[in-house]
Subunit: 313 residues, 2 copies
């Protein structure tokens, strides 16, 4: 067994930090690590927190952590930073606020980059959760910013998604319409004392009312802590009642993970073959000369990669 794997299973922070970097950078050791810890996983529950920047997600998480400790959870926090699809550089990166608000040695905290590629984050996030799971963390909070494809992907990986809104920000209603109401299992109006919070609260109720789900909508104040006890209770309650349907959901998640990993491997092999296949360069020249069209060329190349096996199976 790898030294790092022993460290993970003992819950050593240095091993955890290193293993997460290995996964996040998709280094070759990722496979070995996951292979060796996989049968020690399955105890952790995961909660996603999303909402626009400045909605107060980090402070809210800071207030929730002690309450989860009281309920006996061992908590880890993963913050997913959106990065520019071109530069790969983090826009936010500044996690100091959260570090400050959670002054508790028991909590493991880590930022991971999303690197623009949505598929990439799904794979590494699943495996990083496994590492924390194997290390004994049984409640993993995943924070991300926004309402895009990334948040939809994360909502498919975690057991439960909390969407955090703040009153009086112009983009709120647009964000609600843009799909956030379909990924959330719980909706939060943070800064619930501010003017406008009732309007926002009612807009959310109206919108999710149409979806015919019994989704909790709560007003909290991450600043004063008001409402956070109820929120922690609600999350804990859902995680616990969910255990009945958990097996089926787990199977669905594994099915979709297995599909996307298989397609990833196929894509890597296909690209390797294409780049070394003179047929590929020949077809590009034929395309430039308009002697073949893109559909014909792609069809022929795909068949050549599958190596005629299409007809046999």
């Amino acid at each position: 067994m790898l030294e790092i794997v022993k460290g993970i299973l003992r819950g050593e922070r240095r091993s955890l930090a290193k293993a997460i970097s290995v996964i996040d950078n998709d280094e070759p050791d990722s496979q070995t690590i996951i292979r060796e810890i996989f049968d020690k996983t399955g105890n952790a529950r995961t909660v996603g927190f999303t909402g626009s920047g400045g909605a107060g997600k980090s402070s809210l998480i800071g207030k929730l952590v002690p309450r989860f400790h009281d309920k006996g959870y061992k908590v880890a926090i993963l913050a997913v930073d959106p990065t520019s699809p071109v530069t790969g550089g983090a826009i936010l990166g500044d996690r100091v606020r959260m570090q400050d608000s959670i002054d508790d040695e028991r909590v493991f905290m880590r930022s991971i980059a999303s690197r623009g590629a949505v598929g990439g984050i799904s794979k590494s996030l699943r495996n990083i959760i496994r590492i924390l799971d194997a290390a004994g963390y049984n409640l993993i909070l995943v924070e991300s910013v926004g309402a895009g494809q990334l948040e939809v992907e994360i909502s498919k990986i975690v057991n439960l998604t909390v969407v955090v809104f703040m009153p009086n920000t112009g983009d709120n209603l647009q964000a609600i319409k843009a799909g956030l109401t379909e990924i959330g299992d719980i909706y939060i109006v943070n800064k619930g004392d501010l003017e406008g919070s009732n309007t926002l609260f009612n807009s959310i109720l109206d919108l999710i009312g149409n979806c015919d789900k019994k989704t909790p909508v709560l007003k909290v104040s991450a600043k004063t802590g008001k409402g956070t006890k109820e929120l922690a209770l609600t999350i804990d309650g859902i995680l616990k009642t969910e255990r009945s349907g958990y097996k089926e959901k787990q199977r669905k998640m594994l099915e979709s993970e297995l599909k996307s990993m298989t397609l990833d491997i196929l894509e890597q092999r296909a690209l390797r073959r294409l780049n070394s296949d003179e047929k590929y360069y020949f077809f590009v020249t034929e395309l430039l000369k308009k002697r073949i069209d893109p559909y014909q060329a792609a069809e022929a190349l795909a068949l050549s990669i599958l190596d005629g096996s299409e007809g046999r199976s």
Copy 2:
């Protein structure tokens, strides 16, 4: 030859509209249409316009169109609407403003949906451009909203990208940092008379100065038309001088298109095989029982799809 193809080549609007729908919905006729028009393409040049909502892209395009007509271009406009990744419903959709500002029968205008899937828009956009190209439009303007992965994808498809900023909007500098300065070939400060336009202008110069590119930065007013003549001249100039490097760029674009189409076909076939493969369901059960890990399972499935051809090629 299909009736619709004859219509496209004659430049009939009804055929064009129908063909674009066929492509946009990825109907089976797409292949036949592209196959039959492919050797009539290659004359159109394409310009992307991006920037946040409200930056005045539509009005700007409205002011540019008559100037492009004066230079002998036949202009078509494609507006890419971002849609929610979950609902598929368009957030914007309201193209009335642009329709109003371009009261010219010669211009062909059309909205297409992005459907959240970035790869999807690339494929349909390339083929819709081909249809307009075959119909005789030799300048195609592609408008999109934002600074995300979608705009990066579009910038790879068009010959030249114009990024439109507006002074005094909070997100401007963040958008600049988020990668817009790397996709633009021309930067526009719209509403150049407003206070704050100089600050914005200088910030853009500073940021792209670091990139060591000779990228034009222009102040215009889409409202009064001020500066739009110079902008049209700049675009025309770049499109014309670019012709020297055009062949090489065209080859690169075709290479990447061919790769992604080949991978698409492989993925479709692979998914079809997976769904009907009992090995796949067996592996999911084994994963749930932790008797195999995700890497092993995916590796085995990928190999089974490639049907052992891996060893022979």
